[in-house]
């Protein structure tokens, strides 16, 4: 079965430190992957998708098919990055989400 695994429930880093939120997937075809973010009291929203290969708010994510990973990275964390992050995989009409990682950026 297709799966998305986010091994860390909580990740705490200090402001200015690098951040890496892990995401691993299992999928038999060519995956289409996304990162979503939910800030406090806001709607869940798209952060970035692997197809566009973009950098949003300083975050990037590279698809590694050999390691079946799509880790989210940012070189210097900011306090406003504190939020819940979800990795998601699109399979036909469906979307499979990971369990999420809560990122806390400490001052």
């Amino acid at each position: 079965a297709q799966r998305v695994t986010q091994p860390e429930k909580l990740l705490s880093v200090f402001k200015g430190a690098p951040v890496e939120l892990k995401c691993n997937y299992s999928y038999s075809g060519s995956p289409e992957l996304f990162w979503y973010v939910q800030y406090s009291r806001q709607r869940l929203q798209l952060l970035l998708r692997h197809i566009s290969r973009e950098s949003i708010k300083g975050f990037t994510a590279d698809l590694n098919k050999g390691e079946t990973s799509f880790h989210l990275k940012k070189p210097f964390a900011q306090e406003e990055d504190s939020a819940m992050y979800y990795c998601a995989l699109k399979e036909a009409y469906k979307y499979i989400f990971g369990t999420g990682t809560r990122l806390k950026v400490l001052a």
Binding site: Q6, K9, E32, F34, Y36, R43, L44, Q45, L46, R49, I51, S52, Y86, A88, K90, Y93, K94, Y95, I96, F97, G98, T99, G100
Partner: protein
């Protein structure tokens, strides 16, 4: 521009009572629509999705059902709520680039 609405925002219901949560989308036609349940430590669980009027795909067997009576309306229902139905319910639609756009959610508490 497209917008998605959900109501009510919060709901407290006794066990055994019926449920109806509504989701509507504006500014798009024939959207793919989704119902999720968000629970702490369990992420987003896809409950139902619909690719058109009257078409419902169920992902998880449970006490809930979904209907799509109109193109831009998606309803989540239950005939008799269980304690385990408590949670945060999210409606979403699929954009042109396959991203999901989420509604504000409904916090359901079953007592």
């Amino acid at each position: 521009s497209q917008t998605i609405h959900q109501w009510p925002a919060t709901l407290v219901q006794p066990v055994g009572s019926p449920l109806s949560l509504e989701c509507t989308v504006e500014g798009t036609s024939n959207p793919n629509l989704y119902w999720y349940r968000q629970a702490a430590g369990r992420g987003l669980q896809l409950l139902f999705y619909s690719v058109g009027i009257g078409q419902i795909s169920s992902e998880v067997p449970q006490n809930l059902s979904a209907s799509r009576p109109q193109d831009r309306q998606f309803i989540l229902s239950s005939k008799k709520l269980l304690l385990s139905d408590s949670g945060f319910y999210l409606c979403a639609w699929r954009g042109e680039s396959n991203e999901q756009f989420f509604g504000p959610g409904t916090r359901l508490t079953v007592l």
